[in-house]
Symmetry: C2
Subunit: 416 residues, 2 copies
């Protein structure tokens, strides 16, 4: 097999200082893999000319394609472009179409073109400029000694648009014929080592061209099978066979095949069954509703929520009995069950979900320490409540609770 | 100045395939900078022994500290540990305290120790093991030719705990005396090039040991001043002076000094003024409430929300006039203003915020295309509505809207 390799280089101190999280590289990894290029290495460096040149010299020996992001933009692109001129032994010249594009963009916003922006139309003479429909810094395509170098701005939506419109289609044409394919099987409810034990025999018998990886996250363990082959149909069939075996082995833990978040998988199930849903949230403060409504088309099944942070709202809007509130406290089986059942009736949905807990860092008591959380599910026939106990930080508690209640919903929908 | 450098190496195909986003490196960048180590490069590579060794050989010449994350865990740590044994010319031996720790952890969950977990207590003979309080894979500390190598599991909360408990305090002691300090000034409401124009003269006059960076994000442009010095007091004073100048130059665009999200800055303002707040959300679907409640202590000022996705809930819970809904549509100045004013009264708060729009990808019309969004602010004296128009994707529309309404809140609180 002849898998072509690509490297990603991101330029900018903000990544090294930890002031932004590098989401561009993950996106590039996914997209390059999809056209059959395997990402060999991602290197994040500062915008220092010597370091840029040293890195280019090191990686060009290893790969066919180098994608460089960052270091372009009205306040910083000069350095990267000067460095690329040095590396490719060329000089900056004015690129008229880019200047026109910048003027056009600014006209739309009714702004004058500044000198900084005018400089963005100066490009290395040996590059092929790549149009940036959403911004002022054009991309650049270089080829030298059979290596392709592509330099792009670091602003995520500009970079993605240039890649999708121009770079990916051209690379795909150049490197057709090889196949890398992933299949992701998403599990919830079983830790990594126990899962590994349960599927050890299956894993040992995987064909040589398939590789398994365990990817634990907040919301369970994703299993990724990666296949390499020269024939797409072959791979597809192999991956189907192995996925089917896995589904027979651990059906109760699998919630989705593919990179579908659990909130999308639940959305599909609700649509299939023609059910509607609402939420009554205290400790999750809207995060559960946000997850449900982050899915396109969620208005088909998600009707609304009452976020009852203050107890008055639990009483006045959700109709929680004041006696129960004072006797059991807001974080209790009695109250969370009422919340789920009442929001269901109030917003006229088939299912109601509710959360109430102490997200922290304050608000804990010896009886109910930070991380004590109740969740509930209600439909026309029953109400089911569960207690969770975490001791993580506020945001983790909110996220874990959201996933736990989505898993409770999944278990109920699967039995319905 | 004698700034010591550190490199971060992350091991794992999942980052290269784009299946997870590398948040560990950003966290490490922040923490290492805080103890005076400058991160020179972050390198993400696959769990391939040759590549690991090649990378270690390349970077060890450049830095004093190398932090390696990933490649440790019940299903994969053997390869990384074997590779480190090869690199350091040593072999695996049983580390009794680690075995006891694993047994202890498993007893708490009432689970048997598996063979996979037992192997996690086998460690390279020349390393100093580092306790992992939250997991089964211990960290490892190596020293060779004046370079410190630290290998840690990739699970974020385990890695962070080991760093905070053990690694950072020890590194801090070893490398005391140098200072790197950042000051972040967060702006909103002005694009990068216009901001750069406005503060050009100030930037040109910055002292040589201070460096300015523009960090644009969804929510404005962060300005970062980085200072290098051997004397902490000096730096602090310099940064204060320059920050003050900037505050005089562009007061209306600055919403915070420091890495404080706008929702936290608004929380502080609300507490200061003793005001409470509620939200009525349609297109943001809980994201605005989630942002507000992600801040510890937000229950002091945030009371609750009505998420009215379906029009019936706008009518029944929020009291929107059905005639207005049918005449103007849910996405209109009239309806969003009623939503803000009504939720304020209903939940008995000083301020009400409301959003209504077409987040997409479906639901657009020629009149109101995807990205047409109305936001409103209401207090006892007035209701202010604004129209936004975006044309990005669903999640970006939700996020941009959330930041736009937080900025509207900021402008009103600053005048109140």
């Amino acid at each position: 097999m002849n898998i072509q390799l690509a490297d990603v280089i991101t330029i900018g101190d903000e990544i090294l200082y930890g002031q932004i999280i590098d989401t561009n590289s993950a996106w590039l990894g996914t997209e390059l893999t999809q056209i059959g290029l395997k990402v060999r290495q991602i290197t994040s460096i500062s915008d220092n000319p010597e370091h840029i040149i040293q890195t280019l010299n090191q990686v060009k020996k290893e790969v066919a394609v180098i994608i460089i992001t960052g270091g372009l933009g009205p306040t910083k692109d000069d350095l990267t472009k000067q460095t690329l001129c040095r590396y490719f032994n060329t000089e900056l010249v004015l690129h008229e179409p880019s200047l026109l594009h910048i003027a056009h963009l600014f006209k739309r916003y009714d702004r004058e073109v500044t000198e900084l922006n005018r400089q963005q139309a100066m490009l290395p003479a040996t590059c092929t400029p790549i149009e940036n429909p959403l911004g002022t810094a054009p991309g650049m395509w270089f080829e030298e000694e059979e290596v392709i170098y592509i330099s792009l701005p670091g602003v995520p939506f500009e970079m993605k648009r240039i890649m999708s419109d121009t770079v990916l289609p051209q690379l795909k044409e150049k490197f057709q014929g090889q196949q890398i394919q992933h299949r992701v099987i998403q599990t919830i409810g079983l830790g990594e080592s126990f899962l590994a034990d349960k599927i050890a025999a299956w894993e040992d018998n995987l064909p040589d061209n398939l590789k398994l990886a365990y990817l634990p996250n907040l919301n369970g363990v994703r299993l990724r099978i990666t296949g390499f082959s020269n024939r797409q149909d072959n791979l597809e069939e192999q991956l189907n066979t192995e996925t089917n075996k896995l589904q027979e082995l651990i059906p109760e833990y699998i919630f989705a095949i593919g990179e579908i978040p659990i909130e999308a998988a639940m959305g599909n199930l609700l649509k299939e069954k023609g059910l509607t849903i609402s939420t009554a949230e205290s400790c999750t403060g809207g995060h559960l509703a946000h997850k449900l409504t982050s899915i396109a088309g969620s208005s088909e099944y998600f009707m609304g929520s009452i976020l009852a942070y203050h107890n008055n709202i639990k009483i006045n809007q959700l109709g929680i009995t004041p006696d129960d509130l004072s006797q059991h406290g807001a974080v209790s089986e009695v109250v969370v069950s009422q919340m789920a059942a009442n929001v269901r009736k109030l917003l006229n949905t088939d299912i109601g979900l509710a959360t109430s807990g102490i997200a922290g860092p304050g608000g804990g008591t010896p009886d109910k320490p930070v991380g004590t959380i109740w969740i509930a599910y209600a439909d026309a026939e029953k109400t089911i409540a569960r207690q969770l106990s975490y001791n993580k930080d506020r945001l983790l508690n909110i996220e874990y609770t959201t996933y736990a209640i989505l898993n409770l919903l999944r278990q109920q929908l699967n039995h319905a």
